[in-house]
Symmetry: C2
Subunit: 237 residues, 2 copies
DNA sequence: GGGTCATTTAAGTATATACATTATTGAGTC
DNA sequence: GACTCAATAATGTATATACTTAAATGACCC
């Protein structure tokens, strides 16, 4: 969803008028709002202009309209927040810190049983990467990544010690669908060592699957020290 | 964002045509797409109809248009996923499990220094609740909640041992903005006891702030055992 | 080469109009 | 009262048209 511009166009003024009535609670969920006729009379404009404002709000989920019955304030969409899951390098550099990547392992192989489960493919060749992200020489995250070479053959030739796999993929491979799973885990000895934290410290584990159409592109598991990292999601109507 | 209907309307067919060219990678990010003129010629329809399809895709973020220059495939919105943060009761019952709520503490008071920081108010009266959510008699989550009585005076009279505060608020108080913060913490002795897990076990800590306009409505901090709980976010273009 | 400015093009806004679709309403009938 | 069905009123779709706005283009001049 994109925020509509702060324009002075008539349909935008009408839209903002409607929005503020919803936001303020003057119109409550389920309530019926005036008809397009009434709006065009009160604004002295054409019906298409009113319609344009209404359609925008219907598309953004604030209103619902039913033929013959009218247009109604939508029940607030439950809890659906926009969660930004940023590119790690961009995030670190965005904080003004020096970013560094350490490529620990790189393996081109036929999918093992475990790979198949994680990447959700039935067979094929893939690239498995292990890496560690640093912010100002402090470990920031550990990453385990699988890239489906059937979908992204170019990946086989990329130097991932120079560019983090997430950044490279975002820039080169268009994706249409992604799923994220966020949970908390205790650091095992390897994680503790890799992140420079004490054993059993709570970490945020973020798993991500990415598709393009039906093709699996990549699987990533990123581990962050729980005391240094927070995911933030924001919703505004 | 609402998914547009599977309609047969001409502007929807045009929109789907455009969508599939983006999804398939036939049009790559940054690429310029045909002008409205060209579309109206190839579909033999009016410009407004083409425009309607374009506007919908611009609003949903798949396209960008610039005056004089044309319309372009938008760079994929970074990582912006729709994160469903459900009502706990609804979630438990949705899994077919019996839900139970235990109200541990309830305190109506003037905001303490700590309350002010959490709820982000400068003063005023609030309702502080401590509760524990159960799924089939197993502890599911601990919740610390503050409700701003200036914004929601009715809350003072609600029996929160019958209805979980989150559910009640969602049903009764329209909100326009919410922020979530997700992190991982180690269970302290009280948390471990309350959730029936071992001390230091990793937990997902989910904090939520809710507004209506400028008014703070509520703050909630929910703690879930990390090994039993996962937040899932989904994105599709 | 480089700056200026008018031209042109593509999107942005708005209107008036027509007809389609469909849920509601209400009148008429059994 | 309960069913049927036509009228109605609301949104949904589509067209033709006109003017506005802003940026890319290219011609011109220094």
């Amino acid at each position: 969803m994109t925020r509509p511009p702060e324009s002075t166009a008539l349909h935008n003024r009408i839209r903002r008028d409607m929005e503020s009535r919803i936001m303020s609670g003057q119109w409550r969920p389920g309530e019926r709002i005036p008809t397009e006729q009434e709006w065009m009379e009160s604004y002295g404009c054409s019906r298409m202009t009113v319609n344009k404002a209404l359609r925008a709000l219907v598309q953004s989920g604030l209103l619902e309209s039913r033929k013959r019955a009218g247009t109604f304030v939508a029940a607030p969409r439950f809890h659906r927040a926009a969660l930004e899951i940023p590119d790690i390098r961009a995030e670190v550099e965005g904080q003004g810190l020096a970013y560094r990547l350490e490529l620990i392992g790189r393996d081109r192989r036929k999918a093992t049983a475990e790979d198949k489960v994680l990447l959700r493919v039935s067979s094929g060749e893939l690239l498995a990467l292990e890496c560690r992200h640093f912010a100002r020489d402090l470990p920031y995250a550990l990453e385990h990544r699988l890239i489906n070479l059937a979908a992204v053959p170019e990946a086989a030739t990329v130097d991932f010690s120079a560019e983090p796999p997430g950044s490279w993929l975002l820039g080169h491979v268009p994706w249409t669908e992604a799923e994220h799973r966020i949970t908390a885990v205790n650091a095992d000895p390897a994680m503790a060592k890799g992140l420079g934290i004490s054993e059993n410290a709570a970490c945020v584990a973020l798993e991500r699957w990415t598709w393009r159409g039906n093709e699996r592109i990549t699987y990533a598991r990123q581990l962050y020290p729980g005391d240094r990292y927070a995911l933030v999601a924001h919703f505004h109507a």
